[in-house]
Protein backbone atom coordinates (compact mmCIF):
# COMPACT_ATOMS: atom_id res chain seq x y z
CA UNK A 1 0.00 0.00 0.00
CA UNK A 2 1.02 3.61 -0.47
CA UNK A 3 1.00 5.94 2.50
CA UNK A 4 1.35 9.71 2.53
CA UNK A 5 2.07 12.59 4.88
CA UNK A 6 0.59 15.93 3.84
CA UNK A 7 2.43 19.07 4.99
CA UNK A 8 1.22 22.66 4.65
CA UNK A 9 0.66 25.89 6.58
CA UNK A 10 -2.99 26.24 7.65
CA UNK A 11 -4.19 29.86 7.60
CA UNK A 12 -5.48 30.82 11.04
CA UNK A 13 -9.26 30.89 11.21
CA UNK A 14 -9.76 30.21 7.48
CA UNK A 15 -11.58 26.90 7.76
CA UNK A 16 -12.96 26.87 4.21
CA UNK A 17 -9.64 27.84 2.63
CA UNK A 18 -7.78 25.23 4.69
CA UNK A 19 -10.29 22.59 3.67
CA UNK A 20 -9.67 23.48 0.02
CA UNK A 21 -5.91 23.23 0.54
CA UNK A 22 -6.33 19.80 2.16
CA UNK A 23 -8.52 18.65 -0.71
CA UNK A 24 -6.09 19.92 -3.34
CA UNK A 25 -3.05 18.34 -1.70
CA UNK A 26 -4.79 14.99 -1.13
CA UNK A 27 -6.03 15.01 -4.71
CA UNK A 28 -2.56 15.74 -6.09
CA UNK A 29 -1.09 12.32 -5.22
CA UNK A 30 -2.54 8.78 -5.22
CA UNK A 31 -2.31 7.02 -1.86
CA UNK A 32 -4.18 4.50 0.27
CA UNK A 33 -3.63 6.45 3.49
CA UNK A 34 -3.14 10.20 3.94
CA UNK A 35 -2.12 11.74 7.25
CA UNK A 36 -2.60 15.52 7.57
CA UNK A 37 -1.37 17.93 10.28
CA UNK A 38 -2.85 18.68 13.69
CA UNK A 39 -5.51 21.44 13.74
CA UNK A 40 -5.36 21.52 9.97
CA UNK A 41 -8.61 23.44 9.54
CA UNK A 42 -8.35 26.10 12.23
CA UNK A 43 -4.72 26.98 12.86
CA UNK A 44 -3.05 26.76 16.26
CA UNK A 45 -2.79 29.90 18.42
CA UNK A 46 -6.28 30.49 19.84
CA UNK A 47 -6.85 33.43 22.15
CA UNK A 48 -9.51 31.61 24.21
CA UNK A 49 -11.56 28.43 24.46
CA UNK A 50 -14.45 30.43 23.01
CA UNK A 51 -12.45 31.30 19.92
CA UNK A 52 -11.42 27.66 19.53
CA UNK A 53 -15.05 26.63 19.94
CA UNK A 54 -16.12 29.03 17.21
CA UNK A 55 -13.56 27.51 14.83
CA UNK A 56 -14.15 23.90 15.86
CA UNK A 57 -15.98 21.13 14.00
CA UNK A 58 -18.45 18.47 14.98
CA UNK A 59 -17.05 15.07 13.86
CA UNK A 60 -20.45 14.36 12.32
CA UNK A 61 -20.67 17.78 10.66
CA UNK A 62 -20.14 18.96 7.12
CA UNK A 63 -16.41 19.77 7.23
CA UNK A 64 -15.42 16.33 8.45
CA UNK A 65 -18.09 15.07 6.06
CA UNK A 66 -16.09 16.68 3.25
CA UNK A 67 -13.12 14.50 4.25
CA UNK A 68 -15.38 11.47 4.32
CA UNK A 69 -16.52 12.32 0.79
CA UNK A 70 -12.91 12.73 -0.29
CA UNK A 71 -12.00 9.37 1.29
CA UNK A 72 -14.91 7.66 -0.46
CA UNK A 73 -14.08 9.32 -3.78
CA UNK A 74 -10.45 8.21 -3.63
CA UNK A 75 -11.01 4.84 -1.94
CA UNK A 76 -8.55 5.91 0.73
CA UNK A 77 -8.23 6.43 4.47
CA UNK A 78 -7.63 10.01 5.66
CA UNK A 79 -6.44 11.07 9.12
CA UNK A 80 -6.62 14.78 9.90
CA UNK A 81 -6.26 16.89 13.01
CA UNK A 82 -9.06 19.31 13.95
CA UNK A 83 -10.53 21.22 16.87
CA UNK A 84 -13.41 19.02 17.98
CA UNK A 85 -16.59 20.64 19.24
CA UNK A 86 -18.25 18.42 21.86
CA UNK A 87 -21.10 20.34 23.40
CA UNK A 88 -19.51 23.29 25.19
CA UNK A 89 -16.10 21.63 25.24
CA UNK A 90 -13.30 21.62 22.67
CA UNK A 91 -10.77 18.84 22.24
CA UNK A 92 -7.59 18.81 20.16
CA UNK A 93 -8.56 15.76 18.11
CA UNK A 94 -7.89 13.80 14.98
CA UNK A 95 -10.41 11.91 12.94
CA UNK A 96 -9.87 8.85 10.79
CA UNK A 97 -12.30 8.66 7.89
CA UNK A 98 -12.53 5.49 5.83
CA UNK A 99 -13.73 4.96 2.27
CA UNK A 100 -16.72 3.15 3.80
CA UNK A 101 -17.81 6.27 5.65
CA UNK A 102 -16.52 5.30 9.09
CA UNK A 103 -15.31 8.13 11.32
CA UNK A 104 -13.14 7.42 14.40
CA UNK A 105 -12.00 10.21 16.67
CA UNK A 106 -8.91 10.38 18.89
CA UNK A 107 -8.73 13.16 21.52
CA UNK A 108 -5.17 14.30 22.24
CA UNK A 109 -4.16 12.92 25.62
CA UNK A 110 -1.05 15.03 26.33
CA UNK A 111 -1.67 18.71 25.66
CA UNK A 112 1.28 21.03 24.92
CA UNK A 113 1.28 24.11 27.11
CA UNK A 114 -0.54 26.83 25.11
CA UNK A 115 -3.22 24.22 24.43
CA UNK A 116 -3.94 23.78 28.14
CA UNK A 117 -5.75 27.14 28.16
CA UNK A 118 -7.99 26.14 25.27
CA UNK A 119 -8.69 22.42 25.08
CA UNK A 120 -9.82 19.69 27.41
CA UNK A 121 -7.32 16.84 27.58
CA UNK A 122 -8.32 13.56 25.95
CA UNK A 123 -10.61 11.43 28.06
CA UNK A 124 -10.42 8.11 26.22
CA UNK A 125 -7.59 5.55 26.01
CA UNK A 126 -5.30 5.07 23.04
CA UNK A 127 -7.16 2.79 20.65
CA UNK A 128 -6.44 0.99 17.39
CA UNK A 129 -8.75 1.39 14.41
CA UNK A 130 -8.93 -1.18 11.65
CA UNK A 131 -9.48 0.38 8.24
CA UNK A 132 -8.72 -0.79 4.71
CA UNK A 133 -7.37 -4.03 6.20
CA UNK A 134 -4.70 -2.22 8.22
CA UNK A 135 -4.51 -1.50 11.92
CA UNK A 136 -3.98 2.20 12.53
CA UNK A 137 -3.14 4.10 15.69
CA UNK A 138 -3.56 7.83 16.13
CA UNK A 139 -1.42 10.04 18.33
CA UNK A 140 -1.07 13.83 18.08
CA UNK A 141 2.09 15.95 18.20
CA UNK A 142 3.37 16.19 21.83
CA UNK A 143 2.11 12.67 22.56
CA UNK A 144 5.46 11.64 21.00
CA UNK A 145 7.49 12.53 24.10
CA UNK A 146 5.62 10.00 26.24
CA UNK A 147 6.85 6.54 25.20
CA UNK A 148 3.57 5.14 26.53
CA UNK A 149 1.66 6.68 23.59
CA UNK A 150 3.25 4.75 20.74
CA UNK A 151 3.73 1.74 23.02
CA UNK A 152 0.03 1.60 23.92
CA UNK A 153 -0.92 1.69 20.26
CA UNK A 154 1.68 -0.84 19.13
CA UNK A 155 0.92 -3.31 21.92
CA UNK A 156 -2.72 -3.22 20.81
CA UNK A 157 -1.62 -4.13 17.31
CA UNK A 158 -1.19 -0.83 15.46
CA UNK A 159 0.84 -1.33 12.28
CA UNK A 160 1.01 2.33 11.33
CA UNK A 161 1.19 5.27 13.74
CA UNK A 162 -0.73 8.18 12.23
CA UNK A 163 0.76 11.28 13.82
CA UNK A 164 -0.67 14.70 12.93
CA UNK A 165 1.57 17.42 14.38
CA UNK A 166 2.14 21.14 14.86
CA UNK A 167 5.72 20.80 16.08
CA UNK A 168 7.71 23.78 17.29
CA UNK A 169 10.53 21.96 19.11
CA UNK A 170 13.28 20.26 17.09
CA UNK A 171 13.36 16.82 18.75
CA UNK A 172 10.35 14.86 17.60
CA UNK A 173 11.37 13.91 14.09
CA UNK A 174 14.49 12.11 15.37
CA UNK A 175 12.56 10.59 18.27
CA UNK A 176 10.00 9.09 15.90
CA UNK A 177 12.80 6.91 14.52
CA UNK A 178 13.16 5.50 18.04
CA UNK A 179 9.37 5.12 18.35
CA UNK A 180 9.26 3.13 15.10
CA UNK A 181 12.27 0.99 16.06
CA UNK A 182 11.26 0.16 19.61
CA UNK A 183 7.75 -0.81 18.50
CA UNK A 184 8.59 -2.19 15.01
CA UNK A 185 5.84 -0.15 13.40
CA UNK A 186 5.55 2.38 10.59
CA UNK A 187 5.21 5.99 11.71
CA UNK A 188 3.78 8.82 9.62
CA UNK A 189 4.36 12.26 11.12
CA UNK A 190 2.48 14.97 9.20
CA UNK A 191 3.75 18.29 10.53
CA UNK A 192 2.68 21.77 9.55
CA UNK A 193 4.90 24.63 8.39
CA UNK A 194 4.66 28.41 8.54
CA UNK A 195 4.57 30.95 11.37
CA UNK A 196 1.66 32.14 13.51
CA UNK A 197 1.81 35.50 15.27
CA UNK A 198 -1.14 35.89 17.61
CA UNK A 199 -2.05 36.63 21.23
CA UNK A 200 1.44 38.02 21.93
CA UNK A 201 3.13 34.83 20.79
CA UNK A 202 5.04 33.87 17.67
CA UNK A 203 5.46 30.23 16.76
CA UNK A 204 7.28 28.78 13.78
CA UNK A 205 6.41 25.20 12.94
CA UNK A 206 9.23 22.92 11.88
CA UNK A 207 7.92 20.87 8.94
CA UNK A 208 10.20 17.90 8.17
CA UNK A 209 7.21 15.57 7.95
CA UNK A 210 8.44 12.02 7.70
CA UNK A 211 7.57 8.38 7.14
CA UNK A 212 9.64 5.87 9.13
CA UNK A 213 9.83 2.08 8.71
CA UNK A 214 9.81 -0.51 11.54
CA UNK A 215 13.60 -0.82 11.24
CA UNK A 216 14.07 2.92 11.78
CA UNK A 217 14.73 3.70 8.13
CA UNK A 218 13.39 7.11 7.05
CA UNK A 219 11.43 6.28 3.90
CA UNK A 220 10.47 9.86 3.04
CA UNK A 221 11.08 13.30 4.52
CA UNK A 222 9.78 16.77 3.63
CA UNK A 223 11.55 20.12 3.89
CA UNK A 224 11.30 22.56 6.80
CA UNK A 225 9.02 24.91 4.88
CA UNK A 226 6.29 24.84 2.27
CA UNK A 227 3.71 22.36 1.11
CA UNK A 228 4.51 18.74 0.38
CA UNK A 229 2.94 15.34 -0.01
CA UNK A 230 5.57 12.72 0.76
CA UNK A 231 4.83 9.06 0.14
CA UNK A 232 6.18 5.57 0.64
CA UNK A 233 5.15 2.20 -0.74
CA UNK A 234 5.02 -0.18 2.21
CA UNK A 235 3.98 -3.67 3.26
CA UNK A 236 2.13 -3.14 6.56
CA UNK A 237 2.71 -6.84 7.32
CA UNK A 238 6.29 -5.88 8.21
CA UNK A 239 4.88 -4.29 11.36
CA UNK A 240 3.42 -7.60 12.49
CA UNK A 241 6.92 -9.10 12.60
CA UNK A 242 8.46 -7.90 15.87
CA UNK A 243 11.83 -9.58 15.29
CA UNK A 244 14.80 -7.35 16.05
CA UNK A 245 17.26 -10.21 15.49
CA UNK A 246 16.62 -13.89 14.67
CA UNK A 247 16.29 -14.48 18.42
CA UNK A 248 15.05 -11.15 19.75
CA UNK A 249 11.44 -10.02 19.62
CA UNK A 250 10.60 -6.43 20.53
CA UNK A 251 7.44 -7.56 22.30
CA UNK A 252 8.18 -11.17 23.26
CA UNK A 253 11.39 -10.17 25.05
CA UNK A 254 9.62 -7.65 27.28
CA UNK A 255 9.80 -8.45 31.01
CA UNK A 256 6.84 -6.56 32.54
CA UNK A 257 7.31 -8.34 35.86
CA UNK A 258 10.67 -6.57 36.27
CA UNK A 259 9.52 -3.08 35.23
CA UNK A 260 8.49 -0.36 37.68
CA UNK A 261 6.18 1.93 35.74
CA UNK A 262 3.90 3.32 38.44
Amino acid sequence: MKIAAVQFAPAFGEVEANLRTCRNLVSSVEADLYVLPELALSGYLFESPEEAHSLAQDPEGSEIGAFADLAAERGSVIVVGFAERAGEAVFNSSVLVGPDGRRSVYRKIHLFYPEKDVFLPGDRPFEVVEAAGVRLGMMICFDWIFPESARSLALQGAEILCHPANLVLPYCQDAMVTRALENRVFAVTANRTGTEERVGKELTFTGLSEIVAPNGEILAKADTTGEAVITAEIDPGRARDKAVTPRNDAFGDRRPELYRLD
Copy 2:
Protein backbone atom coordinates in the same frame (compact mmCIF):
# COMPACT_ATOMS: atom_id res chain seq x y z
CA MET B 1 30.10 16.80 39.40
CA LYS B 2 32.19 15.36 36.60
CA ILE B 3 30.99 12.20 34.88
CA ALA B 4 32.92 10.02 32.44
CA ALA B 5 32.37 7.26 29.89
CA VAL B 6 35.35 4.98 29.34
CA GLN B 7 35.64 3.35 25.91
CA PHE B 8 38.12 0.64 24.90
CA ALA B 9 38.42 -2.78 23.25
CA PRO B 10 38.61 -5.56 25.85
CA ALA B 11 40.88 -8.44 24.78
CA PHE B 12 38.88 -11.67 24.80
CA GLY B 13 39.69 -13.84 27.82
CA GLU B 14 42.45 -11.57 29.12
CA VAL B 15 40.89 -10.63 32.44
CA GLU B 16 44.09 -9.35 34.07
CA ALA B 17 45.10 -7.28 31.04
CA ASN B 18 41.60 -5.80 30.73
CA LEU B 19 41.60 -4.93 34.41
CA ARG B 20 44.90 -3.08 33.90
CA THR B 21 43.44 -1.20 30.93
CA CYS B 22 40.41 -0.21 32.99
CA ARG B 23 42.64 0.96 35.83
CA ASN B 24 44.88 2.97 33.50
CA LEU B 25 41.99 4.66 31.71
CA VAL B 26 40.15 5.50 34.92
CA SER B 27 43.37 6.85 36.42
CA SER B 28 44.07 9.03 33.38
CA VAL B 29 41.18 11.46 34.02
CA GLU B 30 39.62 12.91 37.20
CA ALA B 31 35.91 12.22 37.54
CA ASP B 32 33.27 11.59 40.21
CA LEU B 33 31.57 8.85 38.20
CA TYR B 34 33.09 6.51 35.62
CA VAL B 35 30.97 4.21 33.45
CA LEU B 36 32.85 1.41 31.64
CA PRO B 37 31.64 -0.98 28.91
CA GLU B 38 29.62 -4.18 29.22
CA LEU B 39 31.68 -7.36 29.79
CA ALA B 40 34.77 -5.19 30.15
CA LEU B 41 36.90 -7.88 31.75
CA SER B 42 36.07 -10.93 29.66
CA GLY B 43 35.18 -9.89 26.12
CA TYR B 44 31.92 -10.81 24.42
CA LEU B 45 31.77 -13.86 22.13
CA PHE B 46 31.77 -16.90 24.42
CA GLU B 47 31.59 -20.37 22.90
CA SER B 48 29.58 -21.81 25.81
CA PRO B 49 28.16 -21.04 29.25
CA GLU B 50 31.11 -23.04 30.65
CA GLU B 51 33.61 -20.75 28.96
CA ALA B 52 31.72 -17.70 30.25
CA HIS B 53 31.69 -19.24 33.72
CA SER B 54 35.43 -19.75 33.60
CA LEU B 55 35.96 -16.08 32.72
CA ALA B 56 33.33 -14.73 35.12
CA GLN B 57 33.79 -12.92 38.43
CA ASP B 58 32.16 -13.14 41.80
CA PRO B 59 30.93 -9.63 42.76
CA GLU B 60 32.58 -10.13 46.14
CA GLY B 61 35.80 -11.45 44.59
CA SER B 62 39.20 -9.90 43.99
CA GLU B 63 38.66 -8.46 40.49
CA ILE B 64 35.58 -6.45 41.47
CA GLY B 65 37.50 -5.75 44.67
CA ALA B 66 40.15 -4.10 42.52
CA PHE B 67 37.49 -1.71 41.21
CA ALA B 68 36.34 -1.07 44.77
CA ASP B 69 39.94 -0.20 45.71
CA LEU B 70 40.19 2.08 42.68
CA ALA B 71 36.90 3.79 43.64
CA ALA B 72 38.09 4.29 47.22
CA GLU B 73 41.49 5.57 46.07
CA ARG B 74 39.91 8.13 43.73
CA GLY B 75 36.85 8.97 45.87
CA SER B 76 34.68 8.12 42.88
CA VAL B 77 31.86 5.84 41.81
CA ILE B 78 32.64 3.24 39.12
CA VAL B 79 30.12 1.25 37.07
CA VAL B 80 31.53 -1.60 35.01
CA GLY B 81 30.03 -4.50 33.09
CA PHE B 82 31.22 -8.04 33.85
CA ALA B 83 30.21 -11.69 33.55
CA GLU B 84 28.83 -12.48 36.99
CA ARG B 85 29.43 -15.91 38.47
CA ALA B 86 26.49 -16.90 40.72
CA GLY B 87 26.95 -20.51 41.72
CA GLU B 88 26.70 -22.52 38.52
CA ALA B 89 24.97 -19.67 36.69
CA VAL B 90 26.39 -16.71 34.77
CA PHE B 91 24.65 -13.37 34.36
CA ASN B 92 25.57 -10.47 32.09
CA SER B 93 25.84 -7.91 34.88
CA SER B 94 27.17 -4.55 35.89
CA VAL B 95 28.40 -3.56 39.28
CA LEU B 96 28.40 -0.15 40.89
CA VAL B 97 31.23 0.32 43.36
CA GLY B 98 31.27 3.34 45.63
CA PRO B 99 34.15 5.06 47.41
CA ASP B 100 32.65 3.73 50.66
CA GLY B 101 33.07 0.12 49.52
CA ARG B 102 29.45 -0.52 48.55
CA ARG B 103 28.86 -2.91 45.65
CA SER B 104 25.48 -3.04 43.87
CA VAL B 105 24.85 -5.47 41.02
CA TYR B 106 22.41 -5.18 38.11
CA ARG B 107 21.71 -8.31 36.03
CA LYS B 108 20.89 -7.54 32.39
CA ILE B 109 17.18 -8.04 31.89
CA HIS B 110 17.01 -8.11 28.08
CA LEU B 111 19.67 -10.37 26.57
CA PHE B 112 20.81 -9.82 22.98
CA TYR B 113 20.67 -12.99 20.92
CA PRO B 114 24.18 -14.53 21.12
CA GLU B 115 23.96 -13.95 24.88
CA LYS B 116 20.90 -16.16 25.19
CA ASP B 117 23.11 -19.24 24.76
CA VAL B 118 25.43 -18.17 27.54
CA PHE B 119 23.77 -16.11 30.26
CA LEU B 120 20.68 -16.33 32.39
CA PRO B 121 18.43 -13.30 31.96
CA GLY B 122 18.25 -10.87 34.85
CA ASP B 123 15.94 -11.96 37.64
CA ARG B 124 15.60 -8.74 39.62
CA PRO B 125 13.74 -5.49 38.80
CA PHE B 126 15.36 -2.28 37.64
CA GLU B 127 16.53 -0.49 40.76
CA VAL B 128 18.02 2.86 41.67
CA VAL B 129 21.21 3.08 43.72
CA GLU B 130 22.12 6.16 45.71
CA ALA B 131 25.86 6.82 45.73
CA ALA B 132 27.92 9.96 46.25
CA GLY B 133 24.66 11.85 46.82
CA VAL B 134 23.35 11.01 43.35
CA ARG B 135 20.67 8.56 42.27
CA LEU B 136 22.04 6.18 39.65
CA GLY B 137 20.28 3.65 37.45
CA MET B 138 22.02 0.84 35.62
CA MET B 139 20.91 -0.64 32.32
CA ILE B 140 23.06 -2.67 29.92
CA CYS B 141 23.35 -2.38 26.14
CA PHE B 142 20.23 -3.91 24.46
CA ASP B 143 18.05 -2.79 27.38
CA TRP B 144 17.97 0.53 25.47
CA ILE B 145 15.45 -0.70 22.88
CA PHE B 146 12.80 -1.33 25.54
CA PRO B 147 11.51 2.08 26.65
CA GLU B 148 10.46 0.44 29.92
CA SER B 149 14.12 0.13 31.00
CA ALA B 150 15.02 3.80 31.20
CA ARG B 151 11.44 4.65 32.21
CA SER B 152 11.52 2.25 35.17
CA LEU B 153 14.77 3.76 36.39
CA ALA B 154 13.70 7.37 35.87
CA LEU B 155 10.31 6.93 37.52
CA GLN B 156 12.12 5.55 40.56
CA GLY B 157 14.21 8.70 40.67
CA ALA B 158 17.38 7.92 38.70
CA GLU B 159 19.21 11.11 37.79
CA ILE B 160 21.90 9.47 35.70
CA LEU B 161 21.46 6.35 33.54
CA CYS B 162 24.71 4.36 33.66
CA HIS B 163 24.72 2.30 30.47
CA PRO B 164 27.61 -0.09 29.81
CA ALA B 165 27.34 -1.41 26.25
CA ASN B 166 28.82 -3.71 23.60
CA LEU B 167 26.79 -2.29 20.72
CA VAL B 168 26.95 -3.76 17.24
CA LEU B 169 23.82 -2.14 15.73
CA PRO B 170 23.90 1.54 14.76
CA TYR B 171 20.70 2.79 16.41
CA CYS B 172 21.30 3.07 20.13
CA GLN B 173 23.41 6.18 20.33
CA ASP B 174 20.67 8.26 18.66
CA ALA B 175 17.96 6.54 20.67
CA MET B 176 19.68 7.45 23.94
CA VAL B 177 18.98 11.09 23.09
CA THR B 178 15.28 10.17 23.11
CA ARG B 179 15.72 8.21 26.36
CA ALA B 180 17.32 11.25 28.03
CA LEU B 181 14.69 13.64 26.66
CA GLU B 182 11.60 11.61 27.46
CA ASN B 183 12.81 10.97 31.03
CA ARG B 184 14.70 14.26 31.60
CA VAL B 185 17.77 12.42 32.90
CA PHE B 186 21.46 12.27 32.09
CA ALA B 187 22.55 9.19 30.15
CA VAL B 188 26.10 7.85 30.00
CA THR B 189 26.57 5.15 27.36
CA ALA B 190 30.03 3.54 27.61
CA ASN B 191 30.42 1.39 24.51
CA ARG B 192 33.34 -0.80 23.54
CA THR B 193 35.28 -0.75 20.29
CA GLY B 194 37.24 -3.32 18.28
CA THR B 195 36.32 -6.56 16.54
CA GLU B 196 35.92 -10.08 17.92
CA GLU B 197 36.25 -13.11 15.64
CA ARG B 198 35.25 -16.26 17.48
CA VAL B 199 32.91 -19.28 17.29
CA GLY B 200 32.26 -18.68 13.59
CA LYS B 201 31.10 -15.11 14.17
CA GLU B 202 32.68 -11.71 13.61
CA LEU B 203 31.36 -8.71 15.48
CA THR B 204 32.56 -5.13 15.23
CA PHE B 205 31.55 -2.87 18.09
CA THR B 206 30.51 0.65 17.24
CA GLY B 207 32.11 2.91 19.89
CA LEU B 208 30.62 6.43 19.83
CA SER B 209 30.25 6.40 23.60
CA GLU B 210 28.27 9.43 24.67
CA ILE B 211 26.99 11.56 27.51
CA VAL B 212 23.54 13.11 26.98
CA ALA B 213 21.81 15.82 29.05
CA PRO B 214 18.14 15.84 30.14
CA ASN B 215 17.31 18.22 27.28
CA GLY B 216 18.77 15.82 24.70
CA GLU B 217 22.00 17.74 24.24
CA ILE B 218 25.00 15.51 23.54
CA LEU B 219 27.58 16.77 26.03
CA ALA B 220 30.42 14.51 24.88
CA LYS B 221 30.90 11.84 22.24
CA ALA B 222 33.79 9.48 21.45
CA ASP B 223 34.96 8.17 18.07
CA THR B 224 33.96 4.87 16.48
CA THR B 225 37.30 3.26 17.26
CA GLY B 226 40.03 3.34 19.87
CA GLU B 227 40.26 4.17 23.54
CA ALA B 228 38.72 7.27 25.04
CA VAL B 229 37.60 8.78 28.30
CA ILE B 230 34.95 11.39 27.55
CA THR B 231 33.68 13.63 30.31
CA ALA B 232 31.10 16.26 31.14
CA GLU B 233 30.65 18.60 34.08
CA ILE B 234 27.03 18.35 35.13
CA ASP B 235 24.55 19.37 37.81
CA PRO B 236 22.60 16.19 38.57
CA GLY B 237 19.88 18.36 40.08
CA ARG B 238 18.81 19.21 36.52
CA ALA B 239 17.43 15.67 36.31
CA ARG B 240 15.09 16.31 39.22
CA ASP B 241 13.37 19.05 37.22
CA LYS B 242 10.99 17.27 34.83
CA ALA B 243 9.76 20.46 33.13
CA VAL B 244 9.63 20.22 29.34
CA THR B 245 7.98 23.64 29.05
CA PRO B 246 6.82 26.06 31.77
CA ARG B 247 3.54 24.11 31.86
CA ASN B 248 4.54 20.61 30.78
CA ASP B 249 6.10 18.07 33.09
CA ALA B 250 7.48 14.85 31.60
CA PHE B 251 6.18 12.86 34.57
CA GLY B 252 3.31 14.98 35.90
CA ASP B 253 1.64 15.04 32.47
CA ARG B 254 1.58 11.25 32.17
CA ARG B 255 -1.92 9.73 31.97
CA PRO B 256 -1.44 6.11 33.08
CA GLU B 257 -5.20 5.57 33.25
CA LEU B 258 -5.37 6.03 29.47
CA TYR B 259 -2.40 3.83 28.56
CA ARG B 260 -2.68 0.19 27.52
CA LEU B 261 0.66 -1.39 28.34
CA ASP B 262 -0.25 -5.01 29.03
